[in-house]
């Protein structure tokens, strides 16, 4: 297998806007990050707030410009593409956000929301689009009648299904999942992750999964990269990496997770 998505030496800095005066401070959000994702597999990018994981995801999705580095899809460089040349890439790489409600226009019906990408990227007739929307909704576990309703009529989990259907409309190869279940209740998280697992198998999708929950990553991802301070500090197969973490930060992160078993204490202070 070859890597479908290759990221090399990515750098992104944020300035305070006063560098010309020599007084501003520069924050390096992404600091020489490299990784690759094989076709049909899932790479988990984990870290705490400020680790640079979301910034990395946004650069790969071309929602943010990098300072330097390279992102290649099928060997083709994405970061230098501009204007019309960018359109096919926007189709191939789609993003699913944490808060589905914030990412959906509340005044549009679900059918319109899901069809938006089709209007831009395909030459379907209205009838064809309508059929495709129903197909997408059902694929994501929603009834066809959902197309006629508004986002606020749906629960958090259902809204995330809408967000996924919308991302899949243009038949992307890569989905960037930015904390897609973090805002959901635990019983609903499992529904969405199961859906994503099935979709990956059926559609041979490649996932870049941004997360902070290491237990979810262990079950969901083939590879995991641990980020801190803009750098990848450790990378590997989740189960092996968790069993034998090499980097101090990975150890700290793992020991901080509260274990949902009162008889296994980890190192947490307990009153009992």
């Amino acid at each position: 297998m070859t890597a479908l998505l290759q990221v090399e030496d990515l750098v992104k800095t944020f300035g305070s806007g006063r560098q010309l005066m020599g007084t501003g401070e520069v924050t390096t959000a992404v600091d020489h990050v490299s990784f690759s994702v094989e076709a049909g597999s899932t790479l988990g990018l984990v870290g705490e707030s400020g680790s640079g994981k979301s910034t990395t995801a946004r650069i790969v999705a071309r929602l943010l410009e990098a300072d330097s580095g390279s992102v290649r899809l099928h060997g083709q460089e994405l970061l230098t593409l501009r204007g019309r040349a960018l359109a096919p890439i926007r189709r191939q790489v789609q993003m699913v956000f944490q808060d589905p409600f914030a990412s959906l226009n509340p005044r549009w019906k679900v059918g319109t929301l899901v069809a938006e990408g089709l209007k831009i990227h395909s030459r379907m007739t209205r009838a064809q689009r309508r059929d495709r929307v129903v197909e997408l909704l059902e694929m994501c576990g929603l009834p066809a009648v959902a197309a006629e309703r508004f986002p606020h009529e749906f629960s958090g989990g259902q809204r995330q299904r809408i967000g996924i259907a919308r991302a899949l409309a243009v038949e992307p190869e890569v989905l960037i999942l930015d904390e897609p279940v973090s805002a959901l209740d635990v019983s609903i998280q499992a529904q969405i992750l199961t859906l994503l697992t099935h979709l990956q198998q059926d559609l041979h999708l490649t996932y870049l999964f941004i997360a902070h929950d290491l237990a979810i990553v262990e079950r969901f991802c083939d590879q995991v990269a641990v980020m801190r301070g803009g750098q990848i500090v450790e990378e590997g197969v989740p189960r092996e990496l968790y069993a034998n973490p090499q980097h101090e930060y990975t150890k700290t992160l793992l020991s901080a997770i509260p274990i949902p078993d009162p008889r296994r204490s980890g190192t947490t202070y307990q009153r009992r």
Partner: protein
């Protein structure tokens, strides 16, 4: 461990009986009864909309005016439900300390940390500003903030999220309360910071002999910190037990399904979801709120509000389990 604690204590610290909260036609909390005992760490768990935060706010008289609250919640024999605002204000802060999720919202952005601690200290005891500043620095040191006397002159935005939550805990400790109610105190924090803040809460409450009611959605946090657990679903307390019994022999199908849906490190079995999603309870709750999502549901589950079954130590509200059908 809990039974020995109870033997020492003749009376519960907080006694809630038949508490109901409605917002217009929506039932948020139904027929809620529980006790919080001295020196215990009680976890209140449930998903969003389950009524756990509403319960905490109802006890403290912090619900908006459109909430209709009935029933009883007594703290050391003093009735809180319907008590005059003056009485509630005295109890809040003085006898019951509060820690909320959003520390930035709880701190005034235009006053320094020192100003806010000094004001709170002087509201409770008659001490000079100089003495209060010394005491404030001691409190910051107790909650593990480095160079505390320097931090007194910082504004809230100059501290990290974890440090702000430490300041809130310091504020909650000022009046040496017997009970600390912490509503999702670490939900907005990273996991390494969460651990520090929860360890701190456990440490200071133990040192001061205070009870803690911890409202959370995180079963890991419950397993690691709580002595006893109350599980909420649809505004109903569906199960309460000591932490070992709840995790090892859950009685209510919701608790069981919830525990199975929590991903655990070291397990790579498929995710186990609970089908469907919670719905708001319109009108009076007259059935099991979990029935639409429950694989054990039978007609009886939707015909009446499930009664309480089990023992005083391990109660639940599942008719079918209670009648030995499953």
């Amino acid at each position: 461990m809990k039974s020995t604690r109870r033997d020492e204590a003749s009376e519960p610290l907080l006694r809630v009986r038949d508490l109901n909260v409605r917002f217009g036609p929506v039932s948020a909390v139904t027929q809620l009864s529980f006790d919080a005992w001295p020196k215990e760490f009680l976890g209140v768990v449930g998903e969003s909309g389950s009524g756990k935060s509403v319960t905490a706010k109802a006890i403290l008289g912090l619900l908006p005016e459109n909430a209709q609250v009935s029933g009883s919640a007594t703290f050391r024999g003093q009735e809180l439900i319907g008590a005059p605002a003056e009485v509630l204000r005295r109890i809040r802060g003085k006898q019951i300390g509060l820690v909320f999720q959003d520390a930035l919202a709880a701190l005034d952005p235009v006053y320094t940390i020192g100003d806010q601690l000094v004001e709170a200290l002087q509201a409770h005891t008659e001490i000079s500003t100089k003495e209060a500043r010394t005491k404030a620095a001691d409190l910051l040191a107790e909650v593990g903030i480095p160079s505390p006397s320097k931090r007194l002159d910082d504004y809230p935005h100059q501290l990290s999220g974890g440090q702000r939550q430490r300041v809130i805990i310091a504020t909650a400790l000022i009046a040496e309360p017997d009970l600390i109610i912490a509503d999702e105190p670490t939900t907005a924090l990273d996991v390494t910071v969460q651990k520090q803040v929860l360890d701190l809460l456990a440490e200071v409450s133990e040192r001061r002999g205070a009870s803690v009611i911890l409202v959370t959605h995180d079963m890991g946090v419950v397993a690691q910190h709580c002595d006893r657990v109350a599980t909420f679903y649809g505004g109903l307390l569906v199960e309460s037990a000591d932490v070992y019994s709840l995790f090892e022999t859950p009685q209510h199908p919701y608790t069981e399904a919830l525990l199975r849906s929590v991903p655990k490190l070291g397990e790579t079995t498929p995710f186990e979801a609970i089908p469907g999603s919670p719905v708001q309870i319109q009108g009076a709750l007259d059935r099991c709120p979990f029935a639409p999502r429950c694989k054990h549901a039978a007609p009886v589950c939707t015909q009446e509000l499930p009664a309480e079954y089990g023992t005083a130590e391990h109660r639940h509200r599942c008719v079918r389990v209670g009648q030995g059908e499953i």
